[in-house]
């Protein structure tokens, strides 16, 4: 097992890890404000990626098609909030999780009705060529995905901690009733959070589709399980945590392939997550205070 082999595998791990990180951000955004696991998020991303594919197929210029798909993602995020969350916002925390999962399954069936069950190839609008950084060889696409994920981590932190909207969102997060009393339009804030989650999620989903060169129905479930695991690992609700968690999960999976073979990849990487959570129950970057109900 030479150094070149290991560094190549590390680059592979970072590449897939940054895809997980990108999607995990969407979970963290909603969770950090509402303490809700938005299980529909992965499916919103999947529909968004299909929407991008359809728009590109209709000869819409690529940037416009991606923007259009992000708008679809935002609208879907709002629709999920309105239909699956708001009616049960004040119920036990389990209820909205289940209704979100239900919304996800509906989206999944709907996508199959519209686009069919087959895997679709996704156009490669960013050319793929190797970039050599020291001992590492990255593909150009992985570098861009990693870059986008880093930018989004900072953008999300800035939005939440440095803007008026972010202040309002934090008030909603701390005490919904008090926020309403001081005149914060809490429904509007929550809708905006979901719309933003959907918008950014689809932006990530398009990169995800391009990395795999494929758009497929099961993408929703894949995004849900892997990104959720990454978010847990990093500390749910923490943007840097989601990012680092995604990278660690990606590298852990690659490590599992090297050590025990790809058939046991998921088992090994999830074992690592369990071990981390045993030592740090709130994830690597989660603070205990975040875990109030």
């Amino acid at each position: 097992m030479d150094a070149a082999y290991l560094s190549e595998q590390l680059a592979n791990g970072l590449a897939i890890g940054s895809v997980y990180a990108l999607i995990a951000l969407g979970y963290s955004l909603v969770y950090s404000i509402l303490y809700l696991i938005n299980f529909a998020h992965g499916y919103v991303i999947m529909v968004g990626a299909f929407a991008a594919l359809t728009l590109i197929g209709m000869q819409v210029p690529v940037p416009a098609a991606i923007f259009g798909a992000c708008i679809v993602g935002a609208l879907l995020g709002v629709a999920v909030e309105r239909i699956a969350y708001r009616p049960v916002r004040h119920s036990n925390r389990i209820v909205p999780m289940i209704s979100a999962l239900g919304a996800g399954l509906v989206l999944s069936s709907l996508a199959q009705l519209i686009w069919g069950p087959e895997v679709h190839s996704f156009p490669q609008f960013i050319p793929r060529y190797p970039i050599v950084v020291g001992p590492f060889t990255f593909s150009s696409q992985s570098a861009i995905i990693l870059g986008v994920a880093v930018v989004l981590v900072f953008a999300a932190s800035w939005l939440l901690y440095r803007t008026r909207f972010g202040m309002a969102a934090q008030c909603v997060c701390q005490d919904m009733e008090a926020a309403r009393l001081v005149g914060i339009p809490i429904d509007a804030v929550i809708i905006a959070i979901y719309a933003l989650g959907g918008f950014l999620g689809v932006a990530g989903g398009v990169l995800f589709a391009m990395y795999f060169n494929a758009v497929f129905i099961q993408m929703g479930l894949l995004a849900t399980t892997k990104a959720w695991a990454a978010a847990m690992l990093g500390g749910v609700g923490n943007f840097q945590g989601a990012f680092i968690g995604g990278l660690i999960l990606g590298v852990a999976e690659t490590l599992a392939v090297i050590l025990v073979g790809s058939a046991y990849k998921d088992g090994v990487s999830l074992l690592i997550i369990v071990l981390v959570l045993l030592v740090r129950p709130n994830g690597l970057f989660g603070s205990p205070a975040v875990e109030r109900s």
Binding site: D2, G116, P117, S121, S139, N213, A214, G261, A263, D266
Partner: protein
């Protein structure tokens, strides 16, 4: 806020239930009347939803084309042929439930299906007890015909025989020695992998340089596997997988700068998407197909052209075999077979369909069928006319 919105919600719910009722009721009413004398109905069991839903779609496309042809030419002895689709979701549990529903309906002359071996294996005991004839397209697990059931025949070539052929082709025809095997980490994929490895024991000088299992329809990133194969000096990719994974694997290999490694795979790869998903890296790949889609046979050509025209894609193996099973049912029925002796009659006859000539042995396996070697050339599948060099395999077949 709950108080304002709840009447609204109730109205929405009512509207939804009205729509739901509206869609379900007519669907219930248009089901063909049971035991109508002028229609022969078959049950088509395949995964219509779930991860393998693409197979179900292909089964229906193949079935629809066969029906159009049969009914367009007057049906079977003046009766129309029809089918009802049954969704086994690609899971054994659901397949067993579907089998029971098909028998309970008491209107089907035969079952066409199932597609996945695990589903066929789960459903067969139920069909067998009732004596329901089963015409199976693509279930390739050896146990499907080795379990002593007398009411089944199948179209595809058995896995154990097939997997050994893959190895022989890589070693004998291509002269490669260090195999890199990618396989689905389920019963089907592991079974194939085991037989491929077994064949290497009688093919001198060959070995498994690297292997990797993947979780079907979940794993889509093969970068780490590809890097592993490369570092272990693999000189031929053995892709024991569907067209999705196969195409993605080659496309990702190209992204990592690895091209020009010969590739051998099953006819699950024989689908346009394999070439598209590989982004050109499938060029030169060899596919061992249980039927030859480019045979110069008029029946094959007619079918391929019609399918291309209707769906602007290649038919998958499931579509071809399902299509042929409907024609086979017609041929057997016209030769005097009834539901009771359909399978026995078919075992005694030979038949020619879009997938070539078929004949069956006493267990229900196709006999004297060999793989057609198809290659990707200039972004298209083409028949090479080659045959697998079986030197050495005789030792395994006694």
């Amino acid at each position: 806020m709950h108080d304002h919105s709840s009447p609204n919600r109730r109205q929405i719910l009512q509207a939804f239930s009205a729509i739901a009722a509206g869609t379900i009721l007519p669907a219930g009413l248009v089901r063909p009347a049971a035991a109508a004398d002028d229609v022969i109905t078959l049950a088509l069991a395949a995964p219509m939803t779930g991860n393998n839903a693409a197979e179900g779609l292909n089964a229906r496309q193949g079935a629809d084309m066969a029906l159009a042809m049969i009914n367009g030419a007057g049906g079977i002895g003046g009766k129309k042929l029809a089918y009802d689709p049954f969704d086994d979701q690609g899971t054994p549990k659901e397949a067993a439930a579907v089998a029971q529903r098909i028998l309970d309906a008491d209107k089907y002359a035969a079952v066409i299906g199932h597609v996945d071996s695990s589903c066929t294996l789960a459903a067969m005991p139920i069909y067998s007890d009732a004596g329901m004839p089963v015409l199976c397209s693509s279930s390739s697990n050896p146990a499907v015909t080795d379990s002593g059931w007398e009411n089944i025949i199948r179209m595809t070539i058995r896995d154990d025989y097939g997997a050994q052929e893959y190895s022989a082709f890589a070693v004998n025809n291509l002269g490669k020695k260090k195999l890199g095997i990618l396989f689905a980490n389920d019963d089907y994929g592991r079974g194939l992998r085991d037989e491929m490895v077994k064949a290497l024991t009688v093919l001198p000088g060959s070995s498994v340089a690297a292997e990797a299992g993947f979780t079907p329809s979940v794993d889509k990133d093969f970068s780490s596997v590809i890097t592993d194969f490369k570092s272990k000096g693999v000189d031929v990719f053995m892709l024991n997988c569907g067209y999705t994974e196969g195409g993605l694997f080659l496309g990702q290999a190209k992204g990592l700068g690895i091209t020009g490694v010969p590739t051998v795979g099953p006819d699950a790869l024989l689908y346009d998407q394999f070439i598209t998903l590989s982004q050109g890296a499938a060029e030169g790949a060899y596919i061992l197909a249980a039927y030859d889609p480019y045979a110069q046979d008029p029946v094959t050509k007619t079918f391929m052209d019609a399918f291309e025209k209707a769906h602007s894609s290649l038919p998958s193996q499931v579509a071809v075999f399902t299509h042929d099973l409907f024609l086979l049912f017609k041929a057997a029925t016209e030769a005097g077979a009834t539901s009771q002796d359909l399978i026995a009659k078919i075992k005694g006859m030979s038949f020619s369909g879009a997938g070539g000539k078929y004949a069956w042995d006493a267990k229900g396996d196709v006999k004297d069928r060999t793989f057609a070697v198809v290659q990707v050339k200039d972004g298209k599948f083409t028949s090479t006319g080659k045959a697998v060099d079986e030197t050495g395999l005789q030792k395994l077949r006694g």
